[in-house]
Amino acid sequence: MNLICISCPKGCHLNVEKIGEEIKVSGNSCPRGEVYAINETLNPLRTLTTTIGIESENYRRLPVISSAPLPKGRIMDVMRALKDLNVKAPVRMNDVIVSDILGLGADIIASKSIER
């Protein structure tokens, strides 16, 4: 199977072979490519970035990111869970906004500091 690694902008073309239980990956320029290919074959994962509401002097939205990639099939559920969420400034970058979102093992964290 051919895949394009999405772990960084380089976009290496990966070749994945399943030999029995073992998954063999080639074409990757770095170890992240192998991890990606294995996950993509067994359980595709995606990092989620979106925004939530914030009460602040100058800002209306706070950019957030999942602290680890989430199962691809659950991304829309997470979006729904974050839909009406609002926080108040101050927020620091990497503050946990929602811990263990929907029990998926990743936190939703702030990806920007907003002081006021």
């Binding site: 999405i6 902008p9 970035t49 925004t51 970058m93 920007k112």
Partner: protein, 411 residues
């Protein structure tokens, strides 16, 4: 008149990096002038991750990259920001700025232009039909959504497969919009392969290669578009029209370096990059005026913008301290396959890095670099126009070179 060693126009990633480079180069009085009320430029609306893998060894969102880089200069007493202030004129080394306190003039020993780029608007691509509401550039839609939380449409079509368009296809889908498709005039996509995968394929959004939008329809609000196929000469194929209902058309049809300021000053621009013509010190055709970042040429990776900004800042610091390169300038010439070269000319005497883009897709090719005293072939598995190429040449390799240096791609 207010005076500083170095004035930097624009506090995006290029401007911040230039300040850091200038400080490391020995300057102690640096002012960054920024028209917005915060640093970071375009990064602040690029909330997706994909920034900083080279610089910080982490994949950050745009705002996080900006913050991490800003942290490097935040407590530096020698670098000051002037926010909410737009530079509206340049004369020699004096800027006219317009801010909350009105107009004033500020003088610098040198100036770095880091004004970023703007998007090609609808008018530039000759869309037929009424000018109705619902047609936006992708970056404008991104700003509305990511900064204000406002979704510009529910049924979206996107023209242009550049990265901003692809990123917005995913972003609007996540926010509940239906993205009907993306059309690309060329037979290949202009975006990164990873964005085709994670922004389109993940959501089953079709990519129409060799297609364009011919017309928009609707009275006050957009109701539909006409999609048309093009042949290998990019000519529209009559009879291939299809009408697609949508309430929003996003244009992701290219970025143009923002250089209105220095153009008026008479700085020489390169018709291919639409940015200034520079030498290896990032100096433009006017003494003491430097350019970097998207204002110089459009970049795909912020890491490269930061590197470039740093080098330009350092070079400006040398200039302010009276250091000049004496050796004769060598011109870069573009041959077949190469659409532009940065820098356009250079001095020998140091290891140098050259940047360029190809003008079409190449598979299994070589970059041929040749001149009197230098002949080099670099093999590449493939090069596409959307990925900027970098080549380093060593001081020793350049030493014997005379005249000009030609760059071409051999299939």
């Amino acid at each position: 008149m207010e005076r500083h060693q170095l004035l930097i126009i624009g506090g995006g990633s290029a401007g911040i990096a230039a300040a850091l480079g200038a400080f490391e180069g020995g300057l102690r009085d640096i002012l960054i002038i920024e028209r917005e009320s915060e640093y970071g430029g375009i990064l602040q609306q690029c909330i997706h991750n994909g920034f900083g893998l080279h610089t910080f060894n982490e994949e950050l969102s745009g705002p996080a990259y900006a913050e991490r880089y800003y942290d490097l200069i935040k407590d530096n007493e020698c670098i000051k920001f002037m926010y909410d202030t737009a530079v509206i004129g340049i004369e020699d080394h004096t800027l006219t700025v317009s801010g909350k306190q009105g107009l004033k003039k500020i003088e610098g020993d040198a100036i770095v232009v880091a004004t970023g780029c703007r998007e090609r608007p609808a008018g530039a691509i000759g869309l037929k039909g009424n000018r109705c509401e619902g047609v936006y550039t992708a970056g404008t839609a991104q700003k509305y959504l990511n900064k204000e939380g406002f979704l510009v449409g529910k049924k979206v079509f996107i023209l242009g497969s550049g990265d901003i368009g692809l990123i917005m296809a995913r972003r609007m889908t996540l926010e509940g919009a239906k993205v009907i498709g993306v059309a690309e005039l060329q037979p290949y996509s202009n975006g990164l392969a990873r964005n085709i995968k994670q922004c389109l394929e993940d959501f089953d959004i079709p990519l129409y290669l060799s297609h364009t939008v011919e017309a928009v329809h609707g009275d006050s609000r957009l109701e539909s578009i006409t999609l048309i196929e093009v042949d290998d000469k990019l000519q529209k194929i009559e009879g291939s029209e299809q009408e697609i209902a949508c309430d929003c058309l996003l244009l992701s049809v290219g970025l143009i370096p923002e250089n209105t300021l220095i153009e008026r000053l008479g700085v020489k621009l390169d018709p291919r990059t639409k940015g200034a013509v520079i030498d290896d010190t990032y100096m433009t055709s006017i003494d003491g005026i430097f350019a970097c970042g998207n204002a110089l040429h459009v970049h795909d990776l912020v890491d490269y913008v930061s590197e470039e900004g740093k080098k330009a800042g350092k070079a400006a610091a040398e200039y302010v301290q009276g250091i000049r390169k004496q050796s004769e300038l060598i011109r870069n010439v573009t041959g077949d396959g190469v659409s532009y070269m940065i820098p356009q000319s250079f001095h020998k005497g140091e290891d140098l890095e050259f940047m360029f883009r190809v003008n079409r897709v190449f598979k299994d090719c070589s970059i041929h670099i040749s001149g009197q005293g230098l002949d080099k072939l670099i093999r590449k598995p493939g090069i596409v126009p959307s990925e900027m190429q970098k080549v380093k040449l060593k001081k020793e390799e350049l030493e014997k070179l005379e005249g000009e240096l030609k760059w071409e791609v051999i299939a």
